[in-house]
């Protein structure tokens, strides 16, 4: 499953983009009416409440070891991220 790491790369870019634009890493896998308000409220700031409380991450960034999509790597370099997402 070579392309699984791409999920991580896109997700990290999404978190970084929200942090840059809105001051906090809002979950990139949600639709928001008002991002500034959401950042203030905090529920969806990564790690979000569902993740903190129940280890639920629908972005597939945090996975329990038994998950089919779980990889072996624990680290990723910024070069790897740039390489996958450079075309966007």
């Amino acid at each position: 499953m070579v392309y699984m790491k791409s999920i991580t790369k896109y997700g990290n870019m999404g978190l970084a983009e929200h942090k840059d634009s809105h001051g906090a890493p809002l979950c990139p896998c949600r639709q928001y009416d008002d991002k500034a308000a959401e950042v203030g409220q905090g529920f969806w700031n990564c790690p979000c409440v569902p993740m903190r409380e129940r280890k639920e991450c629908h972005c597939m960034l945090f996975l329990t070891p038994d998950n089919d999509f779980a990889g072996k790597d624990q680290t990723i370099t910024s070069d790897e991220i740039k390489e996958t997402t450079a075309h966007m």
Binding site: I7, G14, E17, C29, C59
Partner: protein, 172 residues
Amino acid sequence: MAATSLSSSTIPSLNRKESFTVSALSPRSTSAVTFQFPLRRIRIGDSKLSSLSSSTRSTPRAIEAKKQTYNSFDDLLVNSDKPVLVDFYATWCGPCQYMVPILSEVSATLQEKIQVVKIDTEKYPSIANKYQIEALPTFILFKDGEPCDRFEGALTAKQLVQRIEDSLEVKS
């Protein structure tokens, strides 16, 4: 159908307030369809793909995006002769990107049965709000212009085909 390629300089600006772009996967050619609102109808063939068509006709293969224009999302739904699977996504959503090749494959597999359309929720928040989209990706299957099934999250091509076929079977 003649394939014409347009350079980026001839593509009309997408910056107008009512412009609406979605990607849809069209069964009639090797290309997917990107819808661009408002009025202008543009068809951009993909010359790279048409050169492959004669050699790979027997197996479903990836479908690339192509542009068309509709007046609105409602117009798209009304004018579709088949049920429409809509993928609400965001650029930086990992599972949404994971679904890109899967949607291509499913569109090829089910090309007689459905049309696949993708909507960037960051570009079209009003449409996302109309359908109360929260988690991404969210898939809504429209039949006769109305939602008939709805589900969230990434899934495999096989699961997606199964889900769509089950939904269409129940409703028909």
